[in-house]
Symmetry: C2
Subunit: 215 residues, 2 copies
DNA sequence: CTTACATTGTGAATGTTTTCACAATGTAAG
DNA sequence: CTTACATTGTGAAAACATTCACAATGTAAG
């Protein structure tokens, strides 16, 4: 029954837990579509590739949502997870980089479906500026600050070459954005109050290379 | 001086360590380009966003490569990291999914530069089959097994919609491939002896959403 | 050769995450 | 109402990862 109390320094939640909550949310949506009323921690575990104890521990960090002997109510847990993850409302997203990867990101249906709405696309290439990209026009990097503010962008995705990423990140942060998803193969330096996630495909490939080599 | 011995069950290396080794490797390559002869654990730490003790601990899992009082020889540590990560030789990679994301992946220069060579691209769309994609032609999914074997593919990247991913993964595994990089928003089930990494962009975005919500 | 200094390699301490295991509590059937 | 059963929530234990702290060992200068 322990909810996190309104302490000066709030509790810190493991990153791994947050990732798993995202996965649970997905299975719940799936289960909901098939009309399931309730779901047990082991159901969630099997699909999420973890254990039922882990599922219960993860959820118990945020409250007690289940019924002993029965499991969790699908609609209720759906509501709770949406709220915990903050996806109970849409987010305004900016995308920097209108190359191939940017193109893939801007048309990625899963983002829109989950409430991540790309409201601005930026690029430095004059050839691309002004072109229609989905529902928005490509904007010059030079106008970054102006447009981030005008469009109230809350999350920025960076999909540019490594050499350009840090300078752009600095400008994004200076514009008051507090969340960045970085696809450039470089470790960005940002202040502590900026949430930063990296999608580093080369690192992932090298992880596979390592696994194949050491068997 | 402790090297890993040839035991029946080899030591297990933390995933987090392997990821960091990739980052160290990058920074070393950069340092090498600027002509640096040696580098200290704290140099590596600053760029990698960690601590010098962590760097030394990571490296010490694989051997002792440094010189007390001096640091690490850049060329030597480069060689060692290449070998540890298994990127001292090229890898033959297959790509399933010739959509926007597949397109971005197949032209991603960082892969080629690091020795990940895409030797085959697959898609189910008859419209796309036969078209030139970089240096290869798009091949029908139906020929997956045949071509994976013919091209001696060692690593497969899956960039298809969630609904198609598991069935394709099963076929990939059955064809003897032991490493998969999955971009589909689904948790694939694979045997234990298959190395699997996921790049899940929706999960990353929800992590940012969570961070922004809980501040 | 000796001293001053830098930096590694690594046990031990600490911190974090996962797993275990079971009392608590709910349902359902007789 | 009682019994049989399922499943949660959670302390405690175990496993795992990071940080500390310092002896060991190298360089370089006088």
């Amino acid at each position: 029954m322990k909810h996190h109390s309104p302490e000066a320094e709030g509790p810190r939640f493991p990153d791994s837990t947050i990732r798993r909550l995202s996965l649970y949310l997905r299975f719940l949506q799936e289960a909901d579509r098939t009309g399931a009323e309730t779901i047990s921690s082991s159901d969630l575990a099997t699909r999420g590739g973890t254990t039922s104890a882990q599922v219960r521990k993860d959820l118990s960090l945020f409250g007690s949502f289940g019924k002993r002997g029965l499991g969790y109510s699908v609609p209720e847990l759906l509501r709770e997870l949406h709220q915990i993850l903050g996806v109970d409302r849409p987010w305004r997203v900016g995308l920097i980089g209108a190359g191939k990867l940017g193109s893939a990101l801007s048309s990625y249906e899963d983002f829109r479906r989950r409430g991540f709405e790309i409201r601005a696309v930026f690029d430095s290439d004059p050839q691309k500026i002004g072109k229609r990209w989905g529902e928005v026009h490509v904007i010059a990097d030079a106008d970054l600050e102006k447009v981030l503010e005008r469009e109230s962008i809350e999350i920025v995705m960076i999909a540019v070459p490594a050499g350009a990423a840090q300078a752009l990140a600095d400008r994004v942060v200076a514009s008051g954005v507090h969340a960045i998803l970085n696809f450039a193969p470089i470790r960005l330096r940002t202040p502590d109050d900026v949430a930063l996630r990296n999608v580093d495909m080369a690192v992932e490939m090298e992880g596979l290379s390592f696994a194949l080599t050491n068997r």
